[in-house]
C-alpha cells in the first residue's frame, strides 16, 4: 500500500495502532511522547489516563487476559519507562500479549544523559519478548506491525517500541506493510504451531496405555483458546484434570473430572494425583517450581507428554518422554483424532477405573476447608470469599493481587468458565489487582469484575481507583484486610519460629472507607459475619462507580494445604483437621 501521503511519525504511529484494531490504550503523557498525544485527540482509540505508569501496564495486562487481544500501554521516556518495567516483566513471565510504546529523547540526544533519558531497550531487553528502538519515522509502521505480530503469535508476550521525540515529529511517506513484508522482515521468527504427527501418535499410544493419567493444564491452554478441545479430550478418555494457577477456568471446577489447582497451595488431591500418576499430559504448563516442589521427587513414576509452543520449555525442568512443540488447541485436536483412530482400529484404553475411584476418594476426604470463626471473633477471609462467590453473577471476573488472598481466591472460587480469573502468577506482583481489574472491566464492560486484594497489595496501586472513578469504570474491590503482609507472616510463623519482622501494618491507618470515598468510590467496611452478605449485595448493586469493600479479617489465618518451598510434594502440610487422615493419601 504505497502512497504519497505525508504524515508525521506521531500520526503514523496512531494510524498504525488504529489499523492494528486497537480500541483502547492505557497511558500517561510526558515530554518525549508528547507528539504522539496530539493525533490521539482525533483518533478512534480510547485512551485511559492513568495515575502511575505501572497502572497502565497492569491495565493492559488485565485487558489482554480477558479479551485475548494485545493490551497497549503508552508512556513517556525515563522514569515513565522504568515504571513500566514491572508490568513488562509480569507480562513476560505470564505470557501476556502486550505492546508498550515509550517515548525517548531525540536521536541527537541519545547517549548524552539528557533529561529523562534512560536506556529503555537495554533495561527491558530481558523482560520483553522483543523490543526495538525506532530511529526513523519511515520505520514506524513496520515496527508496529512487527510488534503486534510478535506479541500475539507463538508464545505471547510483551513487545516494546521505543520512539525518540524527533522520530515522532519528522515527516514520513505513509506505507502500511503487507503480511508478507512483515514475515519477510523477521527471518528468525517462525513459531511452530502444528504438532509433529508422529509425536502426537506416540502421545496417543501412551495415553491409551496409561492406568493412572493426569492432565496437567497450564496457562498455555487459555492462550491457545483450547478450553473446549481440552474438555473434549478429558471426557473422551475420562482423565482427571488439574488446572494450575495460570489455568484456573480452563476446565470447569464443577466438572467431576476437575481436581482443582496443583502446587504449593494446591488441593491435596491435585498434588497427590500428580505424585502418583504414571502419565502426566502437560498442556501449556512449564513445570514451575511452585507446582513441582522438589523436582527430583516430583511425579517420580510418571512418563511425561509435554505440549508447549515454546521449544525452550521442553526439557527445561523435566525431560519429556514425548515432547510436542505446537499450539495447544491444534495439538489437542490432533491428539483427539489420533486417539479416535487408534480406538477405531481396536486399541483399547487401559482400565483407569481403579485410579478414578482412588482419586475420587482423595477428593472426598480432602476437600478445601477452614475452621469457621467463633461467634463474635474476627471474620475468616475464606468465608468472605465463599459469600462473594455465591452472591456474584455467573461469569464474574475475579482479579487478584499476590499473597494469601490470591491463594484463597484461587482455592475457594469456582471457576467454571475460561477467562474469568486474572492474576499475577510468575512474577508475583503485589499491587497487580486494582489496575488489572480496571483493564479487565474495560475489556469486558458486560461482566461484573471483582478485584480481591490484600491490604498490603492495595496500598501499592490503590491510586488507580481514581482512574476508575474518573473514567467511569465501575470495578469492585474486596480488601481482605488483616493488617499484615499475610503470606510473609505465615512464613515467619512456620519457618522463622513466630519471629515477626516488618510484617505488621496499621489497624487504623489508612481508613479504607474514607480512602475509597476520597477517590470517588463507595466505601464499605465489614467487621462482623452478619454484615458480609448485605455488603456484597450492596456492592453488586452499584454500577455507576467503583466500590471498595473492606473485610476486616483474622490476621492469624493460614493458607492450607501447603508444600514448603524446596520440599517434596509428598510432604504436603494438610489443613490441620485433615492431618489425622493423612495415610489415606496413598
Amino acid at each position: 500500500m504505497k502512497s504519497n501521503q505525508q504524515l508525521t511519525g506521531a500520526e503514523a504511529l496512531i494510524k498504525g495502532l488504529e489499523l492494528e484494531k486497537v480500541e483502547v490504550m492505557f497511558g500517561l503523557p510526558g515530554g518525549c511522547i508528547l507528539p504522539a498525544y496530539d493525533p490521539l485527540i482525533k483518533s478512534t482509540i480510547r485512551h485511559i489516563l492513568v495515575r502511575h505508569e505501572q497502572g497502565a501496564g497492569h491495565m493492559a495486562e488485565g485487558y489482554a487476559h480477558v479479551t485475548g487481544r494485545p493490551g497497549v500501554a503508552m508512556v513517556t521516556s525515563g522514569p515513565a519507562a522504568t515504571n513500566l518495567v514491572t508490568p513488562l516483566c509480569d507480562a513476560y513471565m505470564d505470557s501476556i500479549p502486550m505492546v508498550a510504546i515509550t517515548g525517548q529523547v531525540p536521536t541527537s540526544a541519545i547517549g548524552t544523559d539528557a533529561f529523562q533519558e534512560c536506556d529503555t531497550v537495554g533495561i527491558t531487553r530481558s523482560i520483553t519478548k522483543h523490543n526495538e528502538l525506532v530511529m526513523s519515522a519511515d520505520d514506524l509502521p513496520l515496527a508496529i506491525r512487527q510488534a503486534f505480530h510478535i506479541a500475539t503469535t507463538g508464545r505471547p508476550g510483551p513487545v516494546l517500541i521505543d520512539v525518540p521525540k524527533d522520530v515522532l515529529q519528522n515527516m514520513m511517506t505513509w506505507h502500511w506493510p503487507s503480511d508478507d513484508e512483515v514475515i519477510d522482515s523477521l527471518p528468525g521468527y517462525k513459531p511452530t504451531t502444528k504438532g509433529h504427527p508422529r509425536m502426537i501418535k506416540e502421545a496417543a499410544k501412551l495415553i491409551l496405555e496409561s492406568k493412572q493419567p493426569i492432565l496437567y493444564v497450564g496457562g498455555g491452554v487459555l492462550k491457545a483458546r483450547a478450553a473446549e478441545a481440552l474438555r473434549e479430550l478429558a471426557e473422551l478418555m475420562n482423565i482427571p484434570v488439574v488446572t494450575t494457577l495460570m489455568a484456573r477456568g480452563a476446565f470447569p471446577d464443577n466438572h467431576p473430572l476437575c481436581l482443582g489447582m496443583p502446587g504449593m497451595h494446591g488441593t491435596a488431591t491435585a498434588v497427590t494425583a500428580m505424585q502418583r500418576a504414571d502419565l502426566l499430559i502437560a498442556l501449556g504448563s512449564r513445570f514451575d517450581d511452585r507446582v513441582t516442589g522438589k523436582v527430583s521427587t516430583f511425579a517420580p513414576d510418571a512418563k511425561i507428554i509435554h505440549v508447549d509452543i515454546d521449544p525452550a520449555e521442553q526439557g527445561k525442568v523435566r525431560k519429556p518422554d514425548v515432547p510436542i512443540v505446537g499450539d495447544c488447541r491444534l495439538v489437542i485436536e490432533e491428539m483427539i483424532v489420533a486417539l479416535r483412530d487408534l480406538m477405531a482400529g481396536g486399541t483399547k484404553q487401559a482400565d483407569i477405573s481403579a485410579w478414578r475411584s482412588r482419586v475420587n476418594g482423595w477428593k472426598e476426604n480432602f476437600p478445601l476447608a477452614y475452621e469457621p470463626s467463633e461467634p463474635g471473633a474476627a471474620l475468616k477471609p475464606q468465608y468472605c470469599l465463599e459469600k462473594l462467590r455465591d452472591a456474584s453473577p455467573e461469569g464474574t471476573i475475579l482479579v487478584s493481587g499476590v499473597g494469601q488472598h490470591q491463594m484463597w481466591s484461587s482455592q475457594f472460587w469456582h471457576f467454571n468458565e475460561p477467562y474469568t480469573w486474572v492474576n499475577s502468577g510468575g512474577l508475583g506482583t503485589m499491587g497487580f489487582s486494582v489496575p488489572a481489574a480496571v483493564g479487565a472491566k474495560v475489556g469486558r464492560p458486560d461482566k461484573t469484575v471483582w478485584a480481591i486484594d490484600g491490604d498490603g497489595c492495595f496500598q501499592m496501586t490503590a491510586q488507580e481507583l481514581i482512574t476508575a472513578s474518573v473514567e467511569q469504570i465501575p470495578i469492585k474491590v474486596g480488601i481482605l484486610n488483616n493488617s499484615n503482609l499475610g503470606m510473609v507472616r505465615q512464613w515467619q510463623e512456620m519457618f522463622y519460629d513466630n519471629r515477626y519482622s516488618q510484617v505488621h501494618f496499621s489497624e487504623s491507618v489508612p481508613d479504607y472507607v474514607k480512602m475509597a470515598e476520597s477517590m470517588g468510590c463507595v466505601g464499605i467496611r465489614v467487621e462482623a459475619q452478619e454484615e458480609v452478605e448485605s455488603a456484597i449485595d450492596k456492592a453488586n448493586s452499584i454500577n455507576d462507580r467503583p466500590v471498595v469493600v473492606e473485610f476486616r479479617v483474622a490476621p492469624t489465618e493460614q493458607v492450607f494445604p501447603m508444600v514448603a518451598a524446596g520440599r517434596s510434594n509428598d510432604e504436603i502440610m494438610l489443613q490441620p483437621s485433615q492431618e489425622k487422615r493423612r495415610e489415606l493419601l496413598r
Binding site: 531487553r125 530481558s126 528502538l133 507463538g154 527471518p187 528468525g188 517462525k190 515454546d310 521449544p311 525452550a312
Partner: protein, 185 residues
C-alpha cells in the same frame, strides 16, 4: 572473558555459529541472554557475513550437553537469531588471530624471527628490546606458538577468539553442519 584455556581437549567445549540479522543491539541481546541465564562465554567473534543483512557470531562455550540444548533453545527465542549451528571441531575449519609483543634482546631477536618463520607468522614491529608478532591459524597452533614465546617473555598479547565455518565435504559439496531443529516461538 577467557577464564582458562578452552582450546585444549576439554570435553564440554562447543562451538556455535549463530547467524543473526545485522541490526543494532543484536550482540547486546546475545550477550545479555548469556549473562541472564548464567552461561559462560569463552570467546566470541562477530562480523558481517557475505550478505550485509546478516552477521555471524562464533561463540565458544563450555557446557554440559543438556545445558547446551537449553541454551541453544533460549538463543533461538531471540527474534534476531536466524540460524544456530553447532560446529563439530572435526568437521569445521577454525581460525584465530593472535598479536603479541615479546621481550627480545638483540641476541634473542634472531631466534624469535626464526620461530615466527617456522609458524608462518609475521613480524609487525621491531623495538630495541621487543618484537611485535602476529600469527593466524588454528587455536591449537596459536597455543603452541604462545607456549614457545613464553620463554622470552610475553609483554602483552591479544587473541581474537575463534571464527569457524563447516568444512566442505569434498565429494558431496555439502556443508557438514548440525542444524538445530525446531524454531523459536
Amino acid at each position: 572473558m577467557t577464564t582458562s584455556n578452552p582450546f585444549g581437549s576439554e570435553p564440554n567445549h562447543h562451538v556455535l555459529s549463530v547467524l543473526v540479522q545485522n541490526r543494532p543491539g543484536v550482540l547486546a541481546r546475545v550477550a545479555s541472554l548469556f549473562a541472564r541465564r548464567g552461561y559462560n562465554i569463552f570467546s566470541l567473534a562477530v562480523a558481517p557475513t557475505e550478505q550485509e543483512d546478516y552477521s555471524r557470531i562464533t561463540i565458544v562455550v563450555d557446557l554440559e550437553s543438556a545445558t547446551l540444548e537449553q541454551m541453544v533453545k533460549q538463543l533461538f527465542k531471540l527474534v534476531d537469531v536466524v540460524r544456530i549451528s553447532e560446529l563439530d571441531p572435526r568437521n569445521s575449519v577454525e581460525r584465530e588471530l593472535m598479536v603479541a609483543t615479546v621481550r627480545a634482546t638483540a641476541e634473542q631477536r634472531g631466534q624469535i624471527v626464526e620461530l615466527v618463520n617456522i609458524f608462518e607468522g609475521k613480524i609487525l614491529g621491531v623495538g630495541p628490546e621487543a618484537l611485535s608478532v602476529s600469527l593466524d591459524g588454528s587455536p591449537e597452533k596459536l597455543n603452541d606458538f604462545s607456549e614457545l614465546l613464553k620463554q622470552y617473555g610475553i609483554i602483552e598479547s591479544q587473541r581474537t577468539g575463534r571464527v569457524a565455518l563447516p568444512k566442505l565435504d569434498r565429494t558431496a559439496r555439502v556443508r557438514a553442519v548440525k542444524e538445530t531443529k525446531g524454531k523459536a516461538s
